[in-house]
C-alpha cells in the first residue's frame, strides 16, 4: 500500500505495509541507512529519529504513525555535517565503532532543544541509549559542548 512520508523535508511515496516499523521504511524504502537496527524492541535507541521534533525509537513504531508528520533522521541534522552537535562530537572524538552514534545524536539533539542547558541529571534520565564501546564519558562532555556551541551559533544568527 502506497503512502506519503516526509523525511528530512522531502516527500517520499512509500510502497509498504503501513504497519511496517518506521525504521525499516526509512532504511529500505526511503533508502537512508544512517539510522540503525540493533535490538528491535526499543531498548537500545540505535534507531532514534525525530517525529515532529520528538525523539522516537523507530524500530517500535509503525510507519503509519509518522504520516503527515515531519521525520528527521541523522542525514537531516545538517546538509554538510556541520551542525554544532556534530561539531561537538567531532571535537571530542566521541564515537568509537560509531554504530549507536546516529541514535545518540538524535536523542541528545531532542534533549538540547527541550533543555538548552541540560544538567548531568537531565542527561542521565533522558539519554538512555546503549553504547557497547563505552563512549559515555566523552558523550556527556560532547552534549555539554554542543549546548555551548548551539547557544553561540544561535546568538551569531
Amino acid at each position: 500500500m502506497a503512502f506519503e512520508l516526509v523525511v528530512n523535508g522531502t516527500s517520499h511515496t512509500v510502497d509498504a505495509d503501513p504497519q511496517t516499523p518506521l525504521l525499516w521504511v526509512i532504511r529500505d524504502q526511503v533508502g537512508l541507512t544512517g539510522t540503525k537496527f540493533s535490538c528491535g524492541i526499543g531498548q537500545c535507541g540505535a534507531c532514534t529519529v525525530h517525529v515532529d521534533g520528538r525523539a522516537v525509537r523507530s524500530c517500535s513504531v509503525p510507519a503509519r504513525t509518522a504520516v503527515g508528520k515531519k521525520v528527521v533522521t541523522i542525514e537531516g541534522v545538517s546538509p554538510d555535517g556541520t551542525h554544532p552537535i556534530q561539531a561537538a562530537w567531532t571535537e571530542l572524538d566521541a564515537p568509537q565503532c560509531g554504530y549507536c552514534q546516529s541514535g545518540m545524536i538524535m536523542s541528545a539533539l531532542a534533549l538540547l532543544r527541550e533543555k538548552p542547558t541540560p544538567s548531568d541529571a537531565d542527561i542521565d534520565t533522558q539519554i538512555t541509549n546503549i553504547c557497547r564501546c563505552g563512549t559515555y564519558h566523552r558523550l556527556r562532555q560532547a552534549i555539554h559542548l554542543a549546548s555551548d556551541l548551539m547557544k553561540r551559533t544561535a546568538r551569531a544568527v
Binding site: 537512508l32 524492541i41 567531532t90 549507536c100 563505552g134
Partner: protein, 780 residues
C-alpha cells in the same frame, strides 16, 4: 566476466561504488575509472591507471591525496587512523590529505609480502630503534594469524595486536615509498638524492629552492624501484613527529553524519533479504518446517534450510542448523519467518545443560588433580607450617560480546565467483569458508570489508558469514543480504567460557604468603589456561602450584574481549585483596611489597603504576561512609623480558544503603612503553574498557536453561547507560623502556575485583561470583 541478472559485473560494482557517494568508506572496490575503461589483458586488476600505487599500501593522486590501505578492520579501536599515522610518519605526506581504504583480502592471499617487510628490524622488545616483537603466531591460515607471509602480513584484527604487529612494516612501507619519490625526483632534476628533502608531500631541493609535490612525481616513483630496499630504516620514537601525538579519528566525520557503511548498510541491485532462525540449543538442527504456511505472505520468495556449519570452518565450534526465509525486504522475511512453523531436532544431552549443573561440574572438577602447569618450591610443606590459611572460590559466568550491529553479511555467488560484503575480523578465514561451502576456487572469492558496529572478539568465528554463504549458494546469481535479529545474534555469537577458581594461600605470622595453590576450571577452548593466561603469581610467593581443569560443554566459546585472562585477573586481584585484609595490611602496600620481592623484569614498572594510581586517587585520605577505594594491577606479558602492557587503577566506589553500586571515579596509571602511536585512541580504549568491565562486574551474565542461552535481547541482558558512567576518569601515562603488547582488550579488568573489595569494605560481605548485581547489596 560473469553476468548477474543482466548486469555486467563491472557496471554492477561501479553502481555500488556510486551509491556510497564520493567518499567511498568501507569497501575496497575497483574505482570508477577502472570500471569505465576496458582493461588490457595485462592490466593489474586492482590498479587504477589514473592514480598509480607506489607500493601495496600507498596510492598517490595528482592532487596529492594519499590513499593508505588498511589491512585491519575498523571496529572503534581507531585502527584506520593509527595504521595510517604509521605510514604517514615515514612517507612525510600531508596528514590532512590522507584517506584510508580497506586493503583487498583477495590480493593479500594472491601476493607475497615484499621481501623488505619480512625481517623485523632491531633487537626485540627492549630496542627503541627496532620493530619490537611482532608475533604472527602459528602461520596456519585457519589459526590465529592467517596466511604465511601474505602481502599485508596479517589481515586479522585481534588480540590488541594491530599496532604491535603492524608498526614496523607500516613504517617501512611509508619509508620505501618516500625514498622512491625522492629517487625519482633526483633523477628528473639530475641532482643527488641526498640534496632533496621530503616534507608534507612537498619535495624541495635545498640549494636551488626548486620544489615539486608527490602528486606530480608519483608516476615516476611508481616506475622507480628502490635499489636496496633492505637498507631502509624506520624512525625511532625520539624522531616521531606525527606518531605519538593525539590525532582525531579520520572517520569521525562519517560517523556523526550516518555515512559510514557497515555491513548492514550494503545495498546491491537485485538484492534480496534473508532472515534466519537457528536452533537455540547448540548442536541442534531443523526437524521440519512448513513454508507453505507463509509462502503467500507479502514479498516472500523462497526458503533455505541450512545444516550446522562445518565445525572445521568455525574453529571447532558447533553452532546450530537453521532455516532462512528470503524476501524482497528484511522485515517481510522476518515477519514470515516468525509465522513459519519450525520443529527442532535437539540432542538430549545438550538440552540437559543448565547454568546450575554446568557450574557444579566446574566446581567439582576443582577437587580433581587437574593438569599441573606450574609447581615450584614445596607447597604442601609450606601449608603444613602456615600460621593462617585463606581459601576462596570465585565464579565468572558465560558472557557474550553483544556488539551493537547484529550479525550480517551480503553474499553473491555465481558459477565462478563469490563476492562477500561483511564487517569481519578474520577475512581470510571467511574466504576459506566461502570456497569450501561453494566449491568455487578460493582465488575467486572476493571479500569486501566494511566497518564493524563493534567487534569485541574476532567476529569471524561466529557463523554469520557461513550462514549467508550457504543461503546465497542456494540462490546463485542473486545477491543475498542475511541479517540476524538481536535474538539470533545471541545464538550466533561465541561466549567467554564460564569459569571457576579456587585459590588457597598459606600465610606466615606476619600475614605474608608462603605458599599459594591455584586451581581453575573452565570449558576447553575458552582461551583460559590453555592460552597461558595462568593465574601466575605476579606477587612474590616462594612456593606455588597452579593446576587447570578443563571441561567439555556445548556452548561455543572463544575469543571475547579480554578472553579468559579477564576472569583470571578478577580471581588473582580479588584474592590479593582478601590476603591483605586477612593480614591486616593496606591492599596497595601489600601489593607493592609483594611485587618488590619478586625478580620479575618489569617489577619497577608495575610498582610505578601502583604508586602513580594510588597517588592520583588520594589513596588513604578519608572517604565518607558508603564509599571505598580499591586498587589493582593489570598486566600482560610481565613474566618475561618481552613486550608487555602494564597499568594500575584505583576505583572509588559508592554503595547506597539501598544496595546501588556506583563507580564514582577511576584513576588510571598506564605505561607508554617507548611510545603510543595515537594516545587519544588509547585514552578512548581505556575509557571504553572501564565501561566494558563495569558491565561484566556488575550486570552481565548469560545463563543456560534446557541447553539454550536465556538472555537474548537487551531487555533481559543488561547493559549500562549514561547514568552509570563514572563521573570522573583520570588517565596519566608514564614512559617505560620496552614496546607495548597492546591494550585494546585487557585494560580495566581491575573494575571487577575493585568493586568487590569496595563492597566488602563498606558492608563486610564479600561476593565471589559475578555479577554483583545479582546479590542483595543493601546495608545499614
Amino acid at each position: 566476466m560473469s553476468e548477474i541478472a543482466g548486469v555486467n559485473r563491472r557496471e554492477f560494482l561501479a553502481t555500488v561504488a556510486a551509491a556510497q557517494g564520493a567518499f567511498v568508506l568501507g569497501f575496497w572496490l575497483p574505482s570508477r575509472a577502472e570500471a569505465q575503461t576496458t582493461p588490457s589483458p595485462n592490466a593489474v586488476w586492482y590498479q587504477d591507471p589514473e592514480t598509480p600505487e607506489v607500493n601495496a599500501w600507498i596510492v598517490i593522486a595528482p592532487d596529492d591525496t594519499v590513499t593508505i590501505r588498511i589491512a585491519q578492520t575498523e571496529l572503534g579501536q581507531g585502527v584506520w587512523t593509527s595504521n595510517a599515522m604509521m605510514v604517514c610518519e615515514e612517507l612525510q605526506c600531508d596528514w590532512s590529505k590522507v584517506r584510508p581504504q580497506y586493503a583487498s583480502a583477495n590480493r593479500d592471499a594472491r601476493e607475497k609480502a615484499p621481501e623488505w617487510t619480512l625481517k623485523v628490524p632491531g633487537q626485540g622488545a627492549g630496542d627503541p630503534k627496532g620493530g619490537g616483537e611482532p608475533t604472527f603466531g602459528n602461520r596456519d591460515r585457519t589459526g590465529v594469524s592467517g596466511i604465511p607471509d601474505s602481502l599485508y602480513r596479517r589481515m586479522r584484527t585481534n588480540a590488541a595486536s594491530s599496532v604491535k604487529d603492524g608498526r614496523y612494516y607500516l613504517q617501512l612501507a611509508g619509508a620505501e615509498a618516500r625514498e622512491r619519490l625522492l629517487l625519482a625526483t633526483a633523477k628528473l632534476w639530475n641532482v643527488p638524492v641526498t640534496e632533496l628533502i621530503a616534507k608534507n608531500s612537498v619535495i624541495t631541493h635545498a640549494s636551488s629552492g626548486r620544489t615539486t609535490t608527490y602528486g606530480q612525481v608519483v608516476h615516476h616513483a611508481a616506475a622507480t624501484p628502490h635499489p636496496h630496499p633492505e637498507s631502509i630504516t624506520i624512525k625511532s620514537p625520539d624522531q616521531w613527529t606525527l606518531m605519538g601525538t593525539e590525532q582525531k579519528n579520520l572517520d569521525i566525520p562519517q560517523k556523526v553524519t550516518g555515512k559510514v557503511i557497515y555491513g548492514i548498510d550494503v545495498r546491491l541491485p537485485g538484492m534480496k533479504w534473508a532472515a534466519v532462525k537457528a536452533c537455540p540449543v547448540y548442536g541442534g538442527d531443523v526437524k521440519s518446517y512448513d513454508f507453505e504456511k507463509v509462502r503467500s505472505m507479502p514479498g516472500v520468495r523462497s526458503v533455505v534450510q541450512f545444516p550446522i556449519p562445518d565445525p572445521a570452518l568455525t574453529r571447532g565450534r558447533v553452532f546450530s542448523g537453521g532455516v532462512a526465509v528470503i524476501a524482497d525486504s528484511w522485515y517481510q522475511a522476518k515477519t514470515a519467518l516468525d509465522k513459519m512453523p519450525i520443529e527442532w531436532q535437539i540432542p538430549p544431552e545438550n538440552a540437559a545443560f543448565n547454568t546450575a549443573n554446568m557450574h557444579a561440574t566446574l566446581v567439582a572438577a576443582l577437587d580433581q588433580p587437574g593438569r599441573v602447569r606450574v609447581n615450584h618450591g614445596d607447597v604442601d610443606g609450606a601449608f603444613a607450617r602456615a600460621a593462617k590459611i585463606v581459601e576462596a572460590t570465585y565464579s565468572t559466568p558465560y558472557l557474550p560480546r553483544a556488539r551493537m550491529e547484529p550479525g550480517n553479511a551480503t553474499v553473491l555467488v555465481t558459477n565462478d565467483r563469490v563476492d562477500i560484503w561483511i564487517g569481519d575480523q578474520s577475512p581470510q578465514e571467511t574466504r576459506l569458508s566461502a570456497a569450501k561451502i561453494t566449491g568455487i576456487s578460493e582465488q575467486n572469492v572476493y571479500l569486501h570489508l566494511c566497518h564493524l558496529g563493534g567487534g569485541f572478539g574476532r567476529n569471524g568465528n561466529g557463523p554469520q558469514a557461513e550462514h549467508a554463504i550457504m543461503i546465497a549458494n542456494a540462490n546463485r546469481g542473486i545477491p543475498i543480504h542475511m541479517l540476524w535479529t538481536r535474538e539470533e545474534d545471541f545464538i550466533g555469537t561465541t561466549y567467554r567460557a564460564m569459569g571457576v577458581a579456587r585459590l588457597k594461600a598459606a600465610l606466615d605470622g606476619d600475614g605474608w604468603p608462603i605458599a599459594l595453590e591455584v586451581r581453575t576450571g573452565m570449558q576447553g577452548g575458552g582461551f583460559g589456561p590453555e592460552a597461558s593466561f595462568d593465574v601466575t603469581s605476579r606477587y612474590f610467593v616462594p612456593n606455588y602450584r597452579y593446576s587447570s581443569h578443563t571441561t567439555t560443554f556445548h556452548v561455543p566459546v572463544g575469543t571475547r574481549r579480554g578472553v579468559g585472562q579477564a576472569a583470571h585477573e578478577f580471581y588473582r586481584e580479588s584474592f590479593i585483596d582478601e590476603l591483605a585484609h586477612a593480614a591486616g595490611k593496606d591492599p596497595y602496600r601489600y601489593r607493592r611489597d609483594l611485587l618488590a620481592r619478586t625478580s620479575l623484569p618489569y617489577k619497577d614498572d608495575m610498582i610505578k603504576a601502583l604508586d602513580m594510581a594510588a597517588e592520583m586517587s588520594g589513596w588513604g585520605s578519608p572517604l565518607p561512609k558508603g564509599k571505598a577505594r580499591a586498587i589493582a594491577l593489570e598486566e600482560r606479558g610481565a613474566e618475561g623480558n618481552g613486550m608487555a602492557t602494564i597499568s594500575a587503577m584505583v576505583h572509588t566506589v559508592s554503595l547506597s544503603r539501598e544496595g546501588k553500586v556506583r563507580l564514582e571515579r577511576v584513576d588510571v596509571a598506564h605505561e607508554t612503553g617507548f611510545g603510543l602511536v595515537n594516545p587519544l585512541s588509547v585514552k578512548k580504549q581505556i575509557e571504553g574498557q572501564i565501561t566494558w568491565f563495569y558491565n561484566d562486574a556488575v550486570h552481565q551474565a548469560s545463563n543456560v536453561a534446557d541447553g539454550h542461552i536465556v538472555e537474548n535481547n537487551f531487555n533481559a541482558f543488561p547493559i549500562s547507560r549514561m547514568s552509570e558512567d563514572p563521573p570522573e576518569i583520570n588517565i596519566r601515562f608514564f614512559p617505560t623502556q620496552h614496546w607495548l603488547l597492546g591494550m585494546g582488550h585487557d585494560r580495566a579488568t581491575s573494575v571487577q575485583s575493585a568493586i568487590g573489595d569496595a563492597i566488602f569494605q563498606i558492608t563486610g560481605k564479600r561476593y565471589r561470583d559475578l555479577p554483583y548485581a545479582k546479590h542483595d547489596l543493601r546495608w545499614s
